[in-house]
């Protein structure tokens, strides 16, 4: 069993999450961010979240209006909205996996880009003023290329999971299985190793093209470490159907474990198991 640094008296993840919230959600915190970081990282992430919230609400409302009101209890409707993006277990699943490239891109920007705030801040503050925008831009682009390359892999994973689960008549439990799988990954030594590597910063360059190369290389390496660490967490919302609640929980979890120098991975695994239990419960409700 992998090490966990858990002290019950010291909820590390919650403390880390509170610190992240203070940085990203308060005026003072946002003002403290280096200018290019806010414009290039935080603002697009906020826009992506707005898009997700509006899109999910729209879908849920559309489904609600399509279903006969008398047969759908409102509590169940809420759960379906929060948990599975409006898809109740009675709803027919489409033949192809629900993962358009646009959806993947929006998810990456909304859920992964906020974790870039610490390294991007470091890069910005340790670059010449005239090169800050360039440095952060190159870093974020190189990082996103890795996630773009992960898209076909995610598509394959999702397709095979959905095919297997359809064959077993087990699609309603997809969310629970996904959450349980992600929880188990949290406890492995590989996850721990990759997460620690996510705190690595590069040796900064002397400016100009030499620094550009370092930014691109670092963005790519950071993307690989990050994708390795968080890939399963990112596929989880898709398996469950892009539920809003699931996405928020996963994002909060990733931010908290990224922010803490010694994250409590046992606690994050427990959160994911609880999520799996909730998904299972709502599947059984149907």
């Amino acid at each position: 069993m992998a090490r966990t640094d858990a002290f019950v008296s010291n909820p590390v993840l919650l403390v880390a999450l509170r610190d992240v919230g203070r940085t990203l959600l308060t005026r003072r915190g946002l003002r403290a961010l280096s200018p290019p970081v806010f414009q290039l990282v935080v603002l697009p992430a906020l826009v992506a979240w707005a898009w997700l919230v509006l899109g999910t609400t729209w879908l849920a409302v559309a489904e609600r209006m399509a279903a006969p009101p008398a047969e759908t209890p409102s509590l169940f409707f809420l759960d379906a909205t929060i948990c599975r993006g409006g898809r109740g277990p009675g709803t027919a699943m489409s033949a192809s996996p629900s993962l358009a490239p646009g959806q993947w891109a929006v998810m990456v920007v909304a859920m992964m880009w906020p974790t870039l705030v610490p390294p991007a801040t470091y890069l910005a503050r340790r670059s010449f003023r005239s090169e800050r925008l360039r440095a952060v831009c190159l870093f974020v682009c190189a990082y996103s290329v890795v996630w773009a390359l992960a898209y076909p892999l995610a598509w394959l994973v999702l397709a095979s999971i959905e095919a297997a689960l359809s064959a077993l008549q087990a699609m309603p439990w997809a969310g629970a299985l996904g959450a349980a799988g992600a929880a188990v990954w949290q406890l492995t030594p590989s996850k721990r190793r990759l997460l620690r590597a996510c705190h690595r910063v590069p040796v900064m360059g002397p400016g100009g093209w030499a620094s550009d190369r370092i930014m691109i290389r670092f963005g790519f390496d950071h993307g690989l470490r990050c994708a390795g660490s968080c890939f399963l967490l990112m596929t989880l919302p898709m398996v469950g159907g892009h539920g809003m609640g699931v996405m928020i929980v996963i994002t909060a979890l990733m931010l908290a474990e990224r922010a803490a120098a010694r994250p409590d991975l046992g606690a994050s695994a427990r959160v994911l198991f609880a999520l799996a239990a909730w998904q299972l419960f709502s599947a059984l409700l149907a």
Partner: protein, 490 residues
């Protein structure tokens, strides 16, 4: 009953403090490392060299962080409680207190300030193993090679306890962080004299994972704690009010009876309220002319900086020059040349500014990585092609280097970062608008000798715990590189 911690070098001839300490250490060293009152358990709290065994109390020490001072205060006081309990059980006094080793005392006052106390010097006593001896880079005379600069109290003049931000000195106590077993930037007191003494004593003391196995570690940290208390008693020196420091992180240790004891930084401000409570016998900050570095460090300008930081949060330091490649500090005469972009930046005259406070200059040594125990270095800066000699800018200390360089560590092996305020030095060099080059050079400050193993008799418990990794850590050949050297102006 509040205990009194006394200067170990000023104890009376018949004083038995160290005698009881030795007996208690011997007793604790015989206890297996799974029990809280084992010597090895207490040492592993600081750093656990054998990472395959998991214990939630091990490797919890805080470094390169604003938690460094309060955590170590809790740590050594809990240790003091455990030792005092052992001393009482062995028939000793009930008010035993940990003494401190004040190596910062001027040599004109205490000529043996930079020698290990006598009881710690010999590997054996009366033919048996001396529990107070350990692997060190010190000769049998106990002399630790320490210059005035290396044991300077200059850090006590730093008014700001903690400061955030890349490129700026982190303050007296260290930068704001979360839980930080190993980080990048050390606070001023942590760097000098704390890190320096670790490196110059060497051996076990030179490595984070083994340092607390040396019985002198605790007397060293008692002095660091005392220096914090001396800083605290100055009228304009205050610990941070930020709740993230005061109550944002809780730590857990054991007290003298074995009960678990939780604390946060708020609990560590008043020494009389920490566990059994303690005070120091002498908190006078005696100033002499011996310390050149102390005189070059900012004084009134520093007070102004503290006010500026409070008033203008958005005053951000700016990078104005960097070296163009990494530098191996063990290669002949290591020199780096920084190209400065002074022409394009705002007014950079480093004399009194016409508008507002004068700019300050900070030299950053970034991503310092290496292995083994390469020792400390004196850092010199120079504007080339003039008649002025290179001027000493400060010390680069390497305690924690191997942990910081380890890719498996908390910061992924990003290395240490040392930040020196070189404003007074820059003025002496005539650094101003139009200067386009700065040279930075390093001079190694080696310990008295390099062989740390002579005469040391390992305890059988220690031999049972020793791994290849530990043996390797002690014998690793030294190496050190600085990733980039940069200059910031604020």
């Amino acid at each position: 009953m509040v205990r009194v911690r006394r200067n170990v070098l000023n104890l009376d001839a018949g004083d038995r403090t160290l005698h009881w300490y030795s007996l208690a250490v011997e007793a604790m060293q015989a206890i297996p490392p799974t029990q809280y009152d084992s010597w090895w358990f207490q040492a592993n709290i600081h750093g656990d060299p054998d990472r395959s065994t998991f214990n939630p109390y091990f490797s919890r020490c805080q470094h390169q962080s604003w938690y460094f001072l309060p955590w170590h205060r809790g740590y050594i006081t809990a240790f003091e409680a455990i030792v005092a309990d052992k001393v009482a059980r062995l028939g000793g006094p009930s008010d035993w207190a940990l003494p401190y080793w004040d190596y910062t005392e001027p040599l004109s006052v205490q000529p043996y300030a930079r020698y290990l106390p006598e009881a710690f010097r010999a590997p054996t006593q009366d033919g048996t193993r001396n529990p107070l001896f350990s692997r060190r880079n010190t000769p049998p005379s106990g002399k630790v090679g320490l210059t005035d600069t290396q044991v300077s109290r200059a850090a006590l003049k730093e008014d700001v306890f903690s400061r955030a931000g890349e490129g700026v000195p982190p303050g007296f106590g260290g930068p704001p962080t979360g839980f930080s077993h190993a980080g990048q930037v050390s606070g001023e007191l942590e760097s000098v004299p704390h890190n320096v003494v670790h490196v110059q004593v060497g051996g076990n003391m030179g490595l984070v994972e083994l340092a607390a196995r040396d019985p002198i570690f605790w007397l060293h940290h008692a002095n660091i704690d005392r220096l914090w208390e001396m800083w605290h008693q100055e009228p304009n020196h205050d610990e941070p009010t930020d709740p993230a420091w005061r109550s944002g992180q809780r730590f857990t240790l054991h007290d003298g009876s074995g009960a678990v004891f939780h604390f946060d930084c708020n609990d560590m401000i008043d020494t009389r309220a920490v566990l059994h409570g303690y005070v120091y016998d002498d908190l006078d900050n005696v100033e002499t002319d011996e310390d050149e570095m102390r005189q070059t460090v900012h004084q009134t300008a520093n007070k102004r900086l503290a006010l500026e930081v409070f008033m203008r949060d958005d005053r951000e330091p700016e990078l104005i020059g960097t070296s163009d490649s990494s530098l191996d500090l063990l290669s002949g005469a290591p020199v780096a040349t920084l190209s400065l972009q002074t022409g394009r930046q705002r007014l950079m005259t480093l004399k009194s500014g016409d508008f507002g406070p004068p700019p300050r200059a900070y030299l950053n040594l970034e991503n310092i990585k290496g292995s083994g125990q390469p020792g400390d270095f004196m850092v010199y800066v120079d504007v080339p092609d003039d008649d002025l000699e290179p001027v000493p800018a400060g010390l680069l200390t390497t305690f924690g280097l191997t942990v910081a360089s380890d890719p498996a560590s908390e910061h992924g092996g990003s290395g240490l970062t040392r930040i020196l305020d070189i404003t007074p030095v820059a003025e002496r060099l005539g650094l101003r608008d139009g200067s386009d080059t700065l040279q930075v050079s390093f001079e190694p400050l080696q310990p008295e000798r390099s062989d740390a193993a002579d005469g040391y008799i390992p305890h059988e418990m220690e031999l049972a715990m020793e791994t290849d990794e530990m043996r390797g850590a002690m014998d690793e050949p030294p190496s050190i590189t600085v990733g980039r050297i940069s200059l910031y102006i604020e």
